[in-house]
Amino acid sequence: MIIVKIGGGSRINVKGIIVDLAALDEEFIIVHGANALRDKLAEDLGQPKQVLTSVKGYNSVYSDEKLIDVMMMAYAGLRNKRIVELCQQNGINAVGLTGLDGKTVLGQRNQGIRVYENKKQKLIRDFSGKPQSINKDLLTLLMGNGYVPVITVPIIDELNCAINTENDDVVRVLQAAIKADTIINLIEAPGFLKDPEDEGSLIPAIAATDLEVHEARADGRMKRKMMAIRRLFEHRASRVIIADGRSEHPVSDALKGKGTVIQ
């Protein structure tokens, strides 16, 4: 079983990814983002995205109700259904799901993000939080009948409200539920880079045990990505591959070890 995370960047070659997946003879589940589409939509609608940086340096998008509307349009609507359409055009009988649908991904609303605002510490409450569990029965029911789940945010919280969360964390709880042996994370870079500005500085391999070191050095969104990946190994992932989602054959390249292989 493979979990394929399709990044939300505009240069991700979604078609190439789906064509590769259609040729796989292994079961897989897709999780995807849509941040490029969301940012553009928010801009077009005159509601530019606001990023909160927590007192500890973690970045997150301020998710008020309006932002959740935009996420539903960009993630659950346009991106999810165009991926489902591409799947159907390549013989993959996909079913698109957000965490709300059938309570596929259950989470916990955050108690408030601590941020600094004009030198004061403030608590910002919004519709965001952390995923905690997966409705594994629904996924197995669908997969057992030949359907391929294509999952994205928002997820559902303890008050049955739609909340935003980090797609990498969704992959973590999904991994905890289905114990995939390989997780492929397709991003707009060759893989993890020693120097984020230099695409040639690919780190071809990282021992799972060294992740914590890398995490300490990273900041903002990259710190979060590292931590989410470290947690994957707590749920018996055997191999995590961070690979280039922009190439012609992102999935088959990744499976050949092209990118950052963490095991």
């Binding site: 909160l52 927590s54 007192v55 500890k56 973690y58 997150s60 998008v61 998710s63 955050n110 108690q111 408030g112 993000i113 601590r114 605002e117 004061k120 510490q121 403030k122 608590l123 910002i124 409450r125 919004d126 965001s128 939080g129 952390k130 945010v153 909340i163 935003n164 969360t165 980090e166 797609n167 979060r224 931590m227």
Partner: protein, 52 residues
Amino acid sequence: MAECPVCGYEFDLPPNTEEGEIISCEDCGSELEVTGKDSVQEAPAEEEDWGE
């Protein structure tokens, strides 16, 4: 007058305090969240990181 829910200490909120601000109780030092003009509640424990 606001009252600290942890130790009962009563105190005035400084004029420019904003809702959502985190202050500590002068008496017991607990972290409190300002919820209104004269009202506070215990601030939720800080969690590692949030949202996307």
